[in-house]
Amino acid sequence: MPANPATLAALTARFGPLPTSEFRGQTRVVVARDQLLEAMRLLRAELRFDLLVDVTCVDYLNYRDAANRFGLVYLLASTDTNERLTIRVYLNEPQLTVPSVIGLWKGADWLEREVFDMYGIVFDGHPDLRRILMPEEFTAYPLRKDYPLQGRGERHNFPVLTRREA
């Protein structure tokens, strides 16, 4: 269901008019990078969004009419009011650092690690920002659109065991 008008009003009261859109009954609000933490704090503490459903990212490289490279997506929900809200932050190289929201939602831990692993977005203040899916020695960010689907040969980079050796 669309976000409560009171929620949007509270956000606008604090940050001025924010780009807002609606798609199939879901409200999306774009906030600026330096306002992210403050906006999230407001949503968490005062507007009772107590559940961080997901943190993910979209790479808009070569996307038609895209002005920004990365769109970071936070899906929020409130178990009190059943409200849902999508918060987006646009990022461009070389400014790929955003504050971590782990202080507000503990569940952000692995979600932010996954976005870091796949897109190389750095979450400032995350206590343990390591790769979560790919091996530690992996160097690329595989879900970026400039990374080839078949990789750069990492999958062939292993010792070959013959019968005599093992």
Partner: protein
């Protein structure tokens, strides 16, 4: 002078006796990483009854196994684990690559999936299919048993052969790609050479 063999006595070679014992008590190590693993479980269950071939006891410790069954896709994070488990298994040991993914990467031609485990560990039998039916897996175990009986020796000399040291590739081995008897593929490369030029991919 002919030596008279008493009744109930059979004369055989020690190699053959050892192979006969080995082939009828294979202990599979189920390396089931994906959907093929379900068919592997079905193979071990009562309906298909792998016990008929003496290979029903699946062990999850590589120290107790001598038949690695790789069932499913192996990702690049998993491959070092697979190699470590293979090294931990006792000799003599064999490996069955079950399904399209384990043999060639299958449809998963992506950065994360190893394009056939035979690039990195020795494989004795390939089972095609996505997933192979339990009957196919059973057939491959029977074929492996025949192979053990045919060439097995008590000290495992057959594993030292030069042909056994080469890396094989599943697609070259499959009959649909043809195979010229002198160990060359149909475009003339020696069998030991990988299908693609890995250097250019890296």
């Amino acid at each position: 002078m002919a030596i008279e063999v008493p009744e109930n006595v059979v004369v055989t070679k020690l190699d053959e006796l050892a192979s006969w014992c080995r082939k009828n008590s294979l202990w599979p190590m189920p390396f089931a990483t994906a959907c093929c693993g379900i068919e592997l479980m079905a193979t071990g269950a009562s309906k298909h009854d792998l016990a008929r071939f003496g290979a029903e006891v699946f062990r999850f410790s590589p120290r107790q196994c001598d038949l690695m069954i790789v069932a499913g896709r192996v990702v690049m994070k998993m491959l070092p684990v697979l190699q470590r488990i293979w090294q931990q298994m006792h000799e003599p040991k064999w490996c069955i690559s079950m399904g399209a993914c384990a043999s060639t990467g299958g449809v998963f031609d992506t950065y994360a999936v190893v394009q056939g485990i035979d690039r990195f560990i020795p494989v004795d039998m390939y089972v095609p299919g996505c997933p192979p039916r339990p009957e196919q897996l059973i057939q491959s175990i029977i074929d492996l048993q025949e192979m053990i009986q045919r060439e097995g020796t008590i000290e495992g000399r057959e594993f030292e052969l030069a042909s056994r040291q080469q890396t094989k590739r599943a697609l070259v081995e499959l009959p649909m790609y043809g195979r010229i008897p002198d160990g060359r593929t149909n475009d003339g490369r020696p069998m030991s050479q990988p299908i693609r030029n890995l250097k250019s991919e890296i």
